[in-house]
């Protein structure tokens, strides 16, 4: 049986009616113990050890053509089984939801670090040694663009927007701000490196991979190989972090599949850590000019946000920097520019909160600068500028407790204690400052299927190709099912990450929980209906609790009333509610930092985020998403930067010792507050996406706090000590 819901109208809170107390409750991740005890096999670990092992050899020029590959010398090395130089190898990973192969062909070099050939051997060490020694000759191009400045930017017509007249608004403004901010390339740096094991049985391929969006990945893989998608199965039950870097099929999957076919045996390919940095998606560096015009009270009369980003030739993705600027604040006169430099640098793609993660750094710094210039409290300035309706298309908002996030967060944090004059608060050597920023992230529903079976023994099974990338999907899908079917959580079995199951939305764009959860909800709702019919009652009269049905004031175990399994495949689709209202989650970040007056080192002392994101499906996993986002924000503010060599664009700091993600000691007391909210337009769960909300604006709260502490405004991220130092007082 299938059940379908297209979201053309707002939904009632059916989930809330169940009143089982399972949904929302703090529930630890179900697969957590498996992961921390090493019993959750990751992609590279599922084989039996008899696989051949492939390691990529990379390009060591920025642009040009491969003229010769020294195959013979390498084939003669111990253990080497094959060198794959197939034209189907990928230049770079597919962009998220691409659904088709990315650019292929190993002979045209577009960036330093591009995989050129896959060397396959009996052992990992043999393969790595052989790959290292593989001689590749090039005809290097003279016109490589290794920095954005080397390439004239292209403009994307649809993203050059003018509403009203910003120039005039700027010249008439009582207070105005015009500043340029830059953010560097970044990498998700997920713990689990990209890995695949490919196994062919005849013309059927099974790929054990580490991926976020299996229904797309299957098509991308099939398209890359030139085979029928029906013949391809991808399994990805456990993913050790993705953050966008595992959205699209990547070189290692295609390499493993090609090699396994050629050798007639299973092949494993795991990227080395430097390769993860060089050959998976980076977040584009950005240059952003933000202009704000305000009247004497601080009410915005204009906003301008121009962005320069980069990517390889042939890539449709470009960091959507101004995404949240469109709907966060009012102001009648608005102007946007979006320009893309085509560079010979590692491919740019979606990394956690593409757009907001960097756009909100600049916008929220500019708001802080404006607040300072206008003498208005930064929280107050934001409150004044929350528009009634979408400032550009006049749509109403679906739900939006933005103002409450600002005021409740400020109260809980003790914002009133902030001295608005910078550089006034000291704790010994340390200059103390408080800063804040808004958070906003658009909400999206994405088509999703899930099969739910209520077994005759009173247990249930959920099956979908949805992934759990460490976010809690196993747990929340179990909770939704348990809530809807009145089952104890441990009676619900959740099976994910296999394209043999009904296709889900995948994990990305913060839409995973809402979309895959809604598909499960739809299935459960229809199981309830079928059960009610069987019992001769209306669905809304049916009470299911603790594994029992309550009928005529008596309680019967489900197993007593079910003689057969009930299976429903639920299918959710976005509809008119995606168009008719502006859907987004909002929040506010507050940070206290200490900056050494001697060295300029910044240490975050405490941070609080207050968020409203519709129904919170599981307080614990939601909080952990926000923690993760805030930590990303601290990294972006203070330490994270992929350094490209100025001469060939190669990534110099391609390891975890020198690409500085925050360590435990960098992360202070982090507090997360959720405000009660329901969003009837978002999906039948009334939830909104939360995975990327926590990063939006987080870093700006930190750099705004640095300004409050020191009076130094760092506009070039990250705010490493060398950029703070020149503004510090003599010692």
């Amino acid at each position: 049986m299938t059940a379908h819901l297209k979201l053309d109208k707002p939904q009632s809170d059916r989930l809330g009616d169940m009143a089982q107390g399972v949904i929302g409750r703090e529930t630890p991740r179900r697969e957590g113990p498996l992961k921390v005890t090493g019993r959750a096999p990751y992609a590279a670990e599922v084989g039996d050890g008899t696989e051949a092992v492939g390691v990529f050899a990379r390009a060591t020029i920025a642009k040009g053509k491969v003229t010769k590959i020294g195959l013979d010398a390498v084939r003669a090395l111990p253990g080497v089984c094959a060198v794959i130089t197939d034209e189907r190898l990928l230049r770079n990973p597919a962009q998220g939801t691409a659904n088709t192969a990315p650019v292929q062909g190993g002979r045209d070099v577009a960036y330093f670090g591009q995989p050129i050939a896959l060397v396959v051997a009996e052992t990992y060490e043999q393969a790595r040694h052989a790959a290292h020694g593989l001689e590749i000759a090039y005809d290097a191009a003279e016109d490589a663009a290794v920095t954005p400045e080397d390439a004239e930017p292209e403009s994307l017509e649809s993203k050059q927007i003018d509403i009203g007249d910003l120039d005039t608004a700027m010249s008439h403004a009582a207070h105005s701000m015009d500043a340029t901010y830059t953010t560097p390339s970044q990498n998700s740096a997920a713990m689990e490196p990209h890995a695949s094991i490919a196994v062919w049985k005849g013309d059927e391929l099974t790929l054990h991979g580490s991926y976020q969006m299996l229904k797309f990945n299957r098509n991308e893989l099939a398209d890359s190989l030139g085979v029928d998608p029906e013949k391809v199965q991808i399994k990805s039950p456990y993913v050790g972090g993705g953050f966008g870097s595992k959205l699209g099929i990547a070189p290692e999957a295609v390499g493993a599949a090609l090699a396994a076919k050629e050798l007639g045996r299973a092949v494993r390919v795991v990227l080395t850590r430097p390769q993860v940095f060089e050959a998976t998606m980076r977040r584009s560096e950005t240059r952003q000019r933000v202009r704000l015009a305000a009247d004497a009270d601080g009410k915005l009369t204009g906003i301008g946000h121009s962005a320069w980003v980069s990517n390889l030739v042939g890539e449709a993705f470009s960091e959507p920097v101004a995404q949240a600027t469109h709907f966060t604040y009012g102001g009648a006169n608005r102007s946007y520019r979006h320009l893309i430099h085509r560079v010979n640098r590692t491919c740019a793609g979606s990394m956690r909160a593409p757009g907001e993660a960097v756009g909100m750094l600049a916008l929220e710094n500019a708001m802080d600068e404006l607040a300072h210039a206008a003498g208005v409290d930064p929280v107050e300035l934001r409150l004044k500028n929350i528009p009634d309706r979408h400032p550009e298309d006049d749509k109403p908002y679906s739900s939006r407790r933005f103002a409450d996030c600002l005021t409740e967060g400020a109260r809980a944090f003790g914002w009133h204690k902030r001295n608005p004059t910078p550089g006034q608060t000291r704790d010994g050597e340390w200059l103390i400052g408080l800063g804040m920023a808004s958070a906003a992230r658009g909400n999206i529903l994405s088509e999703s299927h899930a099969r739910v079976t209520l077994h005759s023994d009173g247990t249930a099974t959920v099956e979908t190709d949805m992934t759990d990338i460490g976010t809690g999907t196993y747990t929340i899908l179990g909770q939704i099912t348990a809530e809807m079917l009145g089952l104890p959580l441990d009676r619900v079995n959740v099976a994910l990450g296999d394209t043999a199951f009904p296709p889900a939305s995948g994990s990305g764009g913060s839409w995973g929980a809402g979309s895959s959860g809604s598909a499960v909800f739809v299935a459960c709702q229809n199981i309830r209906a079928a059960l009610a019919e069987k019992l001769g009652m209306e669905e809304d009269q049916l009470t299911l609790t603790e594994g029992s049905v309550i009928r005529n004031n008596t309680r019967e175990p489900l197993s007593a009333v079910l003689d057969d399994d009930l299976t429903v495949e639920g299918h959710i689709e976005p509809g008119d509610t995606s168009e008719e209202v502006q859907q987004a989650a909002f929040g506010a970040h507050f940070a206290e930092v200490a900056v050494s007056a001697v060295t300029g080192e910044t240490r975050v002392r405490r941070m609080l985020g207050c968020f409203a994101a519709g129904r919170i499906l599981n307080e614990q996993t939601a909080r952990s998403q926000c923690h993760g986002g805030m930590i990303f924000g601290i990294g972006a503010a203070l330490t994270e930067e992929l350094v490209h060599d100025p001469r060939d664009g190669h990534i110099v700091n391609h390891n975890l010792a020198e690409y500085h993600v925050p360590v435990n000691l960098d992360i202070p007391q982090l507090e997360v507050m959720f405000l009660e909210e329901r969003d009837a337009h978002a999906n039948p769960l009334q939830s909104k996406g939360i995975g990327e909300l926590g990063i939006s604006g987080a870093g700006a709260a930190v750099t705004n706090a640095i300004f409050n502490a020191t009076g130094v405004r760092v506009r070039d991220y990250p705010a490493t000590l060398d950029k703070v130092l020149p503004g510090l007082p003599d010692i």
Partner: protein, 327 residues
């Protein structure tokens, strides 16, 4: 990683013999194995010294301390005598790497760890240290973490150790056994050499030499400080570090030892800096003068220019703090 032969040393003599015959010594392996995986180092043979009896910390006859070359950074940092009498060393050790690494890292290996220059770690890059004569890619490249003192036009790499900086301030000596069976002890200052025209030569050790111990002189007393400035709170190499051992008598600096990390190709110590302070009443002016002397020949290469003001400020702060603690 290139295939290699592995042998476990049965004695120090066995180790030095094998090393003299071309084997590379492995201790904790925390640096060597990384370099082997990247084929920056590709030994055909390695000799494992971990079973040798070199992991003891003992008092010397003169009242100092003898630290076996295999004593781990973790064990050394928490040793009660080190914590009490050589606090600068304990602090430096704990400021280095991570708990996991310190559990494996040894005293000998720490002294001989290689630079963290990014170009040295990438065999596709020219690097005079890795491949003499190919050029130095870091000079005009990303050199944020590299040196401002003691460099040459051929190499601007830093020695990345924290431990060695503290040992330098403590006037440590290094005990070495050679392949000819002769043991010698040299001051730590004579272990590392500046790059000059031969940046691939980093120490005065001969083929086959085994470091067997580090000797600390009797406790210097005074106030001990180790301040490490870095890009994140832990698990990052020093941009600048200062080890200080300082005594105040009758309001004057009676003695001071100052060594610096993150600035130079070896743990850096300048006698004239200490001379300028010794016998003086502490004051901001005298601290500035010391910094002037330290940085007189400092040269930035772009991304690391900031180390010059940073070193000055850090030195002054450490001096001020040490003086306050000593009074």
């Amino acid at each position: 990683m290139r295939a290699f032969d592995y042998a476990r040393a049965t004695s120090a003599t066995d180790a030095t013999a094998k090393a003299a015959a071309g084997a590379t010594i492995i201790a904790g392996g925390t640096n060597l194995l990384d370099l082997m995986k990247l084929e920056v180092m590709a030994p055909e043979q390695i000799v494992d010294i971990n079973r040798l009896d070199m992991n003891r910390i003992e008092h010397t006859e003169s009242g100092g301390l003898r630290i076996g070359a295999l004593v781990t950074n973790s064990d050394l940092a928490v040793h009660p005598v080190v914590r009490r009498d050589y606090a600068v060393l304990s602090r430096a050790l704990l400021a280095g790497a991570s708990g996991q690494l310190r559990n494996k890292a040894t005293t000998g290996g720490n002294l001989l760890q290689r630079t963290r220059c990014g170009y040295f770690y990438d065999t596709a890059m020219p690097c005079n240290k890795r491949e003499p004569g190919t050029g130095c890619q870091a000079r005009d490249g990303f050199n944020r973490i590299l040196a401002i003192l003691g460099t040459s036009e051929h190499c601007i790499a830093t020695h990345p150790s924290d431990m060695a900086v503290a040992m330098r301030a403590l006037d440590a000596e290094v005990e070495i056994e050679s392949a000819t069976g002769i043991a010698r002890t040299i001051p730590l200052v004579d272990l590392h050499v500046l790059p000059g025209e031969t940046p691939h030569i980093e120490t005065t050790l001969d083929e086959g030499d085994l470091i067997t111990a580090v000797i600390l002189p009797p406790p210097p007393g005074g106030v001990h400080r180790y301040r490490k400035v870095r890009d994140r709170s832990s698990y990052a190499f020093a941009l600048v570090s200062v080890a200080a051992v300082l005594r105040i008598e009758s309001g004057k600096i009676a003695s001071c030892a100052l060594a610096f990390g993150g600035l130079a190709p070896k743990p850096w110590r300048v006698a004239k800096v200490e001379d300028a302070l010794t016998g003086q009443e502490p004051s901001p002016e005298i601290f500035d003068k010391a910094a002037d002397i330290l940085l007189a020949d400092a040269k930035g290469y772009g991304a690391n220019d900031f180390k010059i003001p940073l070193a000055r400020r850090t030195l002054k702060a450490v001096l001020r703090e040490s003086v306050e603690a000593a009074q």
